[in-house]
Structures are given as structure tokens and as C-alpha cells.
Symmetry: C2
Subunit: 337 residues, 2 copies
């Protein structure tokens, strides 16, 4: 770790509510193997994904609001109690305004109460927004903040890169973050670091000012996800262990004291590394890749939501969020749930 990033101070915040939304449409490997001309069994063997959900016309805000209502119910508060609504997805619902505005509307939250804005760190957007929300709460300026991630990747799937085209699933997840009081919950530390030499290893070069949709030079290919998996993996691999060491050290936690590691469900390869290379036991790692796919920024909060609602993660548990994103960025957080 650089000396410029001092030790974190624990923030007295608590995930009081968490929820998720899965589109009802399940897309199995057979369908995709047929469509992409892949041999039977190729997908599960390469990616570990058996099925994934795909939107059938739900908007990003609709999915997010469904997840948010679950989170609000669990927190026992109303949408009117939210003083900030933070979008944390890799791509917005539309260019202007930000997606959080449309979620405020879907929730029928009162007008003029919540601050609505989006935070984007691609697959680590939830982690970055969670840290922002925690600081808003801990600073005393806010009482309850909603953070949501909502992803639908259909139009960005790249048929010429079957390994990524079959990997992604659609989903939304949301959390309500509140003051911890004397509950024992806390956000102990957050780490986010970016290596810009990896920017082109995982990207959509369109969708912005560089290859604007109305620029006649923009092609459909610019708007497709492009990933150089092996290069990305080689670049990230040596960074992972020092990063995890630093993250655990910043909270003063041993690996054994951690109840659950919730990784971004980037790929089977990445997740298997999670326990083999980083010093965890397999049963510490939360994995939903096989049935959910990689749900981009929604992946991490979705895995967290499913773990909480299944009882896999309970109050007082030490939880590590950890992941890799386009950037190339590494991110992690240590939370007492």
C-alpha cells in the first residue's frame, strides 16, 4: 500500500436492509450454445455458468426499485426516510438525468427530500457507492441512504467474444445503510485502487463522448463489451494477494476470523483464485456464479443479499467484499454485518 493512503477509521454504519431483483426469464446454456454455435457443454466447462437471468423489458429503475422495496421493508423504513439515493451501476438507464432520479420516482419517494446521484466504478460501483454512503451517514449529514445496482447487458453482449457473451446475467440489488448505533455493525475499511494500463483490457469504448452514438464514425462494435481475459488475468494475478493482505490488515482481521468473503462474481477462474491464492477456505467464499452469471455491479450486492436472506451471513459476522473491475481496479471492504 502507498503511504498516501493512511489507515482507515471504522465508520459506525449498518446495512439495515438489503434486497434483490431477478428477472423471471431464465436463459440456460443450451439456448446460448445453439445461438452462438458452441458445442454442448462448452459454456459450463469454460465459465462455470449453468444459467443466468435476462431482462424481458424491465427498465433499470424498475429492477432497482423492486430490490429497494425489499431493502426498505427489511430496514423497517419508508422511501420518505431516505435522504440520499445513490445509483451504482456500470451503465445508466439514460445519459441524462442519472438513474437514481428514476428510482426515486419508481419508489414514489416524496419530491425534494433525497439527494439523487450515481457513482460509477464499473463492476466495483456498489463498493465505491457503499463507501460514499457510509461517509454521508457517519458524517452526521444523513440518516438512511439507499444504494442500488441494476444491470441489463443485453445490447452490449459481444457475439464475437462468446466467453463474455455467455457470462453476464441481469439483476438488481439494493441496500439501506443507516447509523449503527450500538448494534456492533461497522464499515471498518474500504480500499479502491486503479491501474490505468489495464483500461483497454475490459471496456465498452462507445456510449460516451469518444464514440458518441450520433457520431457517424461510431460502429455497433464500439458499443459491445470487449474483454481480453487472459491479459487481464495476468495483470491482476500478482496484485491480488498484496491487496487482500492490506485489506485485512486495515481492519486488523486474520483470514480465519472472517465469516464470509463476497467476491464480485467475475468468472469461475477469478473466484477459485479467491480462496486458493488468497488464503481462504473454500467454505468462506460466497459463490452464485453458476445460476446468476456475472451481474456486473449488481453481482456483489446480489450475492450479499442472497447470503443474508438464506441465513448464510448473520448479524455480527465479519464480511469481506472484494472484486476486480474494468480500470483495471481492485476494490475491497471489511464490514461487520
Amino acid at each position: 500500500m502507498s503511504d498516501t493512503i493512511p489507515q482507515s477509521v471504522a465508520l459506525s454504519v449498518r446495512i439495515t436492509g438489503i434486497g434483490s431483483y431477478l428477472p423471471p426469464r431464465i436463459v440456460g446454456n443450451h439456448e446460448l450454445e445453439d445461438a452462438l454455435g458452441l458445442p454442448p457443454g462448452w459454456i459450463v466447462e469454460r465459465t462455470g455458468v449453468r444459467e443466468r437471468r435476462r431482462c424481458g423489458g424491465e427498465t433499470s429503475a424498475f429492477m432497482a426499485a423492486h430490490a429497494a422495496r425489499q431493502a426498505l421493508d427489511m430496514a423497517g423504513i419508508a422511501a420518505a426516510d431516505l435522504s440520499a439515493i445513490i445509483g451504482a451501476s456500470s451503465t445508466p438507464q439514460q445519459a441524462i438525468p442519472c438513474t437514481a432520479v428514476f428510482v426515486q420516482r419508481e419508489l414514489q419517494a416524496p419530491e425534494g427530500v433525497a439527494a439523487c446521484f450515481d457513482v460509477n466504478a464499473t463492476c466495483l460501483s456498489f463498493l465505491a457507492a457503499f463507501d460514499v454512503a457510509a461517509r454521508l451517514i457517519a458524517g452526521g449529514a444523513h440518516r438512511h441512504v439507499l444504494v442500488f445496482s441494476s444491470e441489463s447487458a443485453a445490447h452490449s453482449l459481444n457475439p464475437s467474444e462468446p466467453e463474455s457473451a455467455v457470462l453476464f446475467g441481469d439483476a438488481a440489488a439494493a441496500v439501506v445503510i443507516s447509523r449503527a448505533g450500538d448494534s456492533g455493525s461497522a464499515l471498518h475499511s474500504t480500499r479502491l485502487q486503479t491501474w490505468h494500463s489495464g483500461a483497454e483490457l475490459s471496456q465498452i469504448s462507445g456510449g460516451g463522448t469518444l464514440h458518441h452514438p450520433n457520431d457517424p464514425d461510431t460502429t455497433a462494435a464500439h458499443n459491445l463489451f470487449a474483454m481480453r481475459g487472459p491479459q487481464l488475468f495476468r495483470k491482476a494475478a500478482p496484485l491480488l494477494l498484496p491487496f487482500m493482505d492490506s485489506l485485512c490488515d486495515s481492519a486488523g482481521w486474520t483470514r480465519d476470523s472472517i465469516a464470509a468473503v463476497v467476491p464480485h462474481q467475475a468468472s469461475r477462474h477469478g473466484i477459485e483464485l479467491g480462496w486458493k491464492m488468497l488464503g481462504f477456505r473454500e467454505e468462506q467464499i460466497v459463490v452464485n456464479l453458476a445460476t446468476r452469471g456475472n451481474c456486473i455491479a449488481a453481482s456483489m450486492p446480489l450475492a450479499l443479499a442472497e447470503s443474508v436472506h438464506s441465513g448464510r451471513i448473520v448479524r455480527g459476522d465479519r464480511v469481506v467484499l472484494f472484486g476486480l473491475a474494468a480500470g483495471l481496479s481492485l476494490g475491497g471492504a471489511t464490514i461487520t454485518f
Copy 2:
């Protein structure tokens, strides 16, 4: 103000550096009046804009990095000293990864040090990101954070709405935010509030999952800025005075004690309201609309940068940032510079 938003606690942070970038190409009204078939004098009479800058191929990251280098020089630090780089523009350079990554690269900042992410609240993105940066600094987790806004609107200008098509200018601006120490600088309060019923009054409905660039149903019109100015104005007008009262109250400031109000340069109409309706004297208001146009999220930090470098704003001055954004959102901050 809602009871759910308690009084803010002043954050001990200081803008140690600020800079800007203007594309060299100046576009006068004559050129636009010819191109759009408008009578001579129409633009300045309707909008108050005499000229604006337009990009000639500079990328968003190039412009941002130019502004950032000025800010770093003024702060007397190197890019290596930044522990976070936060993008704060209304639209990104590309969909994935976030623009901050490309600015980290343009600055030749060392890899693996800064956290790179973007914050989006449309025209109030700078304000939202400034608040986030201040909380990162004040919480002790960071020492120097860069926030930049970089805007180029060319492909989104709507020729069928000449009033907005002639209004926008391209620019970038950046600030370095650091610990205030005993300098007397502070961020006293920030307010951001959203009224979702105004979401369609100022929008680009394309550029996201709703009308994806590769969706065959997406039209060029979806990717153009669309503003219903009179409706937006009617909706915002009654909100402005209570908002400004609450903002000044949150800092305990009288109008007279404020050295400068730096408004988002939304339109002449909006800015004239700034002093007439909100209880300020004309000379308190910083205006650069005539020569810069509305530079979207870069507007507010650009006006601040120009005021600092011209000596209009000096150390110790009480400064109010204030603006209106798509959302509809109102935002403000009270700063001792």
C-alpha cells in the same frame, strides 16, 4: 428542508488547487445563427451568450488532465500524491471504464495508488463529487483528492431546439481538495435535493439501457439533449428561495457576509434570478455565461477557477456554489475558500 436532513457539520477541507481548460476554438453567434437559420442577434438576445468554446477533437480526459495539471501546480503537489481521482461530468468518455481512469493515465499518475471513480448528478456532478471528496478527506482516509468535470456536447446538441443548441460550450475544470489544517478553509454545508417529476424536462433519453445505441429502435433524436425550458423554469422558480434560505442557514451566513455566489451558468434567465430573486446584490454573482456558455457540469468549477485566478475570489472569502440540474435537482454548498 425536511427533518430527515439534519444540519451539516463543517468539514475541514481546502481547495488547495484549481484549474481549467478551454478549447482554443471560439464559436461566435454569427456562425451558429447562419447554421441554424436564426436572425442576427437572436442568440445574444435570447440566451445572453456571445461566444462559446467548442472542442476540436480533444478527448474528455485530455481536457480534464490539462485542468488538473493547473490545479496540481497550484496545490504544489504531484499526481502521485492523489489518493482519489473523481470524475464529475454529465456524460463519460466511454461507457466502461469510468473517465477518472483515463485522467489517471493522462496525468501519468502512478498505477495502483489512486481510487478512480465517477460521480454523476448531471450539471451538479461537480457539487456532488466535491462533497464526496470532502468527506473522504475529512474522514482521514485521504490527503489529496482530485475532482474534475470535462464536457463536450457537440453530438448531443439539438438543432430542433436552437435555444439549447446555442447555449452549451465545451470546457473542463478541476480542483485539488486537501486537509484544511489551520488555514481557515472549510466546506460548511452541502445541499442536494431531487424532484423526480422534473426528470423529463431536461434529458437525453438515449445513451443508456433504455435506448441503447445498438437497439434497432433507438433513433438519433434519443441521443440529443431535449429541454422544456419554460416548464423547467416554472417548476424550479418557487423552490429556489426556500432552498437558498436553507443553504445559508445551514452555514449560519447572512446574504451580506457572502463574497461570491458561483451559480451554474444555466441560462441568463436563471442567473439573473440568482441575484434578483434570492436576495443578493448583482456584484456578488459570478457570471461567465456570455463568453463560456453553459458548460454543463464544468460550468460551476470553471467559473470558480476563473474567479480564483483573476483575484475575484481570495482566501478567506465566503463562497456559495449553487445550481439547478436535470433531475430536477437543486444543489448548493457553502465554502470558506
